[in-house]
Amino acid sequence: MNSDGVNGGGTSRERVLGRVRRALADVPRDERPEDHPVTRDYLRVHGERTPAESLDLLAENLADYRAHVHRVDAPGLPALLARLLAERGARRVVVPAGLPRAWLQDAPVDMLSDTPALTPSELDRVDSVVTGCALAIAETGTLVLDAGPGQGRRALTLVPDHHLCVVRAADQVVDSVPQALERLAPAAARPLTWVSGPSATSDIELDRVEGVHGPRTLEVILVTGDPRSG
């Protein structure tokens, strides 16, 4: 299980666990971990909202963190994606497996499918990446990617400088962090990336600068209707 050497009459594992147990001499011997309950009287959601209000809040909070937010109905998605890519002059666009190809049918770009052969250096030469997401959290303005279909591996949404993320308004928006974690529990074994606005730093005299190492431009498209049937 571990490669650590034997040291002073036991492995380091035994030594550390032994120290922990001795340190806890004041804890009653018959107390079990679950005997110490945690009162969870905090709120599951902050405020009551209709789905439309949740979507508005999501858009507002995303924009507050300098993401560019667009709204469109499902039939209008390909045209919007084509326009947004054209505005950036994007020629090479990478897409993860499971992303509906119809989304990019109007965009005159080289579409690169993600394959393991696409190294970080090659991703560095890609103009944009288009993905879906697992869900979005309205109260915090957060997108969550769980490596599911249409989201790809983590490097895909990290190395290119421009990330376009499509959120289905109908079934992918939750209000709060507790709701998000509950929905993500089954996916906990998969790598998760939570994104709240583009890469940013405040390390120089606390001046916020967007874009250090991750994508410097984050565009979020909130789609009403079901874009998968489009």
């Binding site: 299980m1 571990n2 490669s3 650590d4 040291n7 492995t11 380091s12 030594r15 550390v16 666990l17 120290r19 922990v20 147990r21 001795r22 340190a23 806890l24 107390e31 971990p33 110490h36 945690v38 009162t39 905090y42 709120l43 902050h46 909070n61 393991p116 970080p120 250096s121 560095d124 915090t140 303005g141 983590r154 490097a155 990290l158 962090v177 507790p178 974690l181 529990a185 906990a188 998969r190 790598p191 998760l192 990336t193 939570w194 994104v195 709240s196 583009p198 890469s199 940013a200 730093t201 405040s202 390390d203 120089i204 005299e205 606390l206 001046d207 600068v209 250090v212 190492h213 991750g214």
Partner: protein
């Protein structure tokens, strides 16, 4: 390094390369004395702490249930600590099941040896690092350098610190003591010897400086084979590790290399997945005053075709179990490293982070460092006194650590001695040297309060001779006035004033 404290611990001079070696730093009063005379440092700090403080208050006010979240956060951490052995074993099982390898390190030397051996086994001579306080605490960069391995810090502030041959001075913004002009100079003078040079004609605009860092580091990210990280949380139930960050350098280090080595203090464990719902609300608002930090990464062992193929988790003790053994002091292990306590602390604001002599500055450092390292030198002995006990740190702490309570508890240990645990062994320490005066003064005060007549006479003599009194005390009292001005004695004692104005009998 000298202990005289005459040189403020900044500006680079005198620090070892990439220096995280804080040992041998002057005790807090001497370091703070130098720092408080540095006008620019004080101005930088004041601006920074007041800005974050105000933003944080607004972010926290958005949540009606903040007090309840805070209670839950404290309760989850306490619950975990009471059965830490159980949770660590569960964590180990879950990480191993997910394809990771778990190592245990009793102290810094062992952790450094494990990491060095793991990097050597890959055949690589450089690693990229996401900001990690645990690896600063153990001096990993220096240990790797001795083994011929270069560690590149990739957080912008950590890069500034590393290139400037400097030490971090704040938990969240480690280069808070540097202004934009200094940063420009550091980049211009030093980047070339670490990799891609700074662009020609680099100005001090923050956006331009950030761009220079992006270019400089991207070439390192793209070729890196080994990444080193810490973690903000480890979930025992699932084996998931969590890193919160803003710049994306964390994501780079966590996902692009083939091998990932995470060095994490054992106190970062939380029992269940659901517990994250509390901490992911408490941490961002307390630290960067945001609803959520730009990036949160969660990974569980290794994943096919996504991210590192090899994952090692090094569980670090290094004084944490000694801290756990102290029933009053163990609450320091609840700390989630948000830095809210630094930004409200009047002592930190004036003294700066370097004066605390460890990667953990401010009020939390004043209780964490002496516990992790033991009361082993004048620096650690001085830290429990680096506070006015105003209580602001306790009020903002998102996991309700009663820092003043622990400070007073540790002061008693320093002045009176008593039982502590050092490297897992119960031992009795003697009162610290230099506190004899303090004990004598307390005895004298007790006597004076027991003899009110003598106290009154003494006060009158003091008041009448006030023009003759020096600003510095002679004899054993000099230690006190070395770093403080002696306060002026009022012309009239409170008791005399009361007797005169209220007409009572004094």
């Amino acid at each position: 390094m000298s202990r005289d404290g005459a040189r403020a611990p900044r500006g680079g001079a005198g620090f070892p390369q990439g220096g995280a070696t804080y040992l041998g730093m002057p005790a807090f009063p001497q370091a703070a004395d130098a720092a408080t005379r540095d006008g620019r440092l004080r101005a930088n700090l004041r601006h920074a702490t007041h800005t974050i403080r105000a933003k944080r208050a607004r972010a926290v006010a958005e949540l009606d249930d903040w007090a309840r979240l805070r209670e839950a956060g404290a309760a989850i951490k306490d619950r975990t600590l009471r059965h830490l052995d159980h949770h660590l074993v569960r964590l180990e099982e879950a990480v191993t099941r997910a394809g990771g390898t778990v190592h245990w390190a009793a102290d810094a030397a062992e952790a450094n040896r494990i990491v060095t051996d793991l990097v050597r086994a890959t055949g690589e001579h450089e690693v990229v690092k996401v900001k990690s306080m645990a690896t600063q605490e153990i001096g990993l960069n220096e240990a790797l350098a001795e083994a011929g391995i270069r560690a590149y810090e990739t957080d912008l502030a950590e890069l500034i610190v590393q290139l400037g041959d400097d030490l971090p001075s704040h938990i969240l913004v480690p280069a808070i003591h540097r202004n934009r002009g200094e940063i420009r100079d550091i980049f211009r003078d030093r980047m070339a010897s670490w990799g891609r040079p700074a662009p020609e004609g680099l100005t001090d605009r923050p956006a331009e400086l950030a761009e220079a860092a992006r270019q400089h580091l991207r070439e390192k990210f793209l070729r890196a084979k080994v990444g080193v990280s810490g973690a903000n949380f480890m979930v025992a139930e699932t084996g998931t590790l969590v890193v919160v960050e803003s710049e994306g350098n964390g994501r780079m280090c966590l996902t692009l290399p083939e091998t990932l080595i995470s060095v994490v203090g054992i106190e970062k464990t939380v029992p269940t997945w659901r517990d994250l719902e509390v901490f992911l609300q408490l941490l961002p608002r307390s630290s960067t005053a945001e609803r959520m930090n730009p990036y949160t990464s969660m990974w569980t062992g290794t994943a096919d075709g996504d991210g590192p193929r090899v994952f090692h988790l090094v569980l670090l003790d290094n004084g944490r179990t000694d801290t756990l053994a102290d029933e009053v002091g163990r609450q320091a292990l609840r700390c989630i490293r948000c830095s809210a306590c630094l930004n409200v602390c009047p002592v930190y604001e004036r003294a700066g982070g370097h004066a605390y002599g460890s990667p953990y500055p401010g009020p939390i450092g004043a209780i964490l460092t002496p516990q992790l390292r033991g009361l082993s030198s004048p620096l650690e002995e001085s830290l429990p006194y680096a506070s006015s006990l105003c209580g602001a740190c306790f009020e903002v702490c998102p996991v309700a650590i009663d820092i003043p309570e622990v400070l007073v508890h540790l002061r008693e240990r320093v002045a009176e001695g008593g039982e502590v645990t050092v490297r897992g062994t119960r031992t009795v320490i003697r009162p610290a040297k230099g506190h004899a005066t303090e004990r004598a003064a307390m005895r004298a005060a007790r006597w004076a309060f027991d003899h009110p007549g003598a106290l009154r006479r003494g006060q009158r003599i003091l008041a009448r001779t006030r023009r003759l009194q020096p600003r510095r005390l002679p004899g054993p009292g000099r230690a006190w006035t070395d770093t403080r001005e002696l306060p002026a004695v009022p012309a009239e004692s409170f008791r005399d004033w009361w007797a005169r104005t209220r007409g009572g009998t004094a």
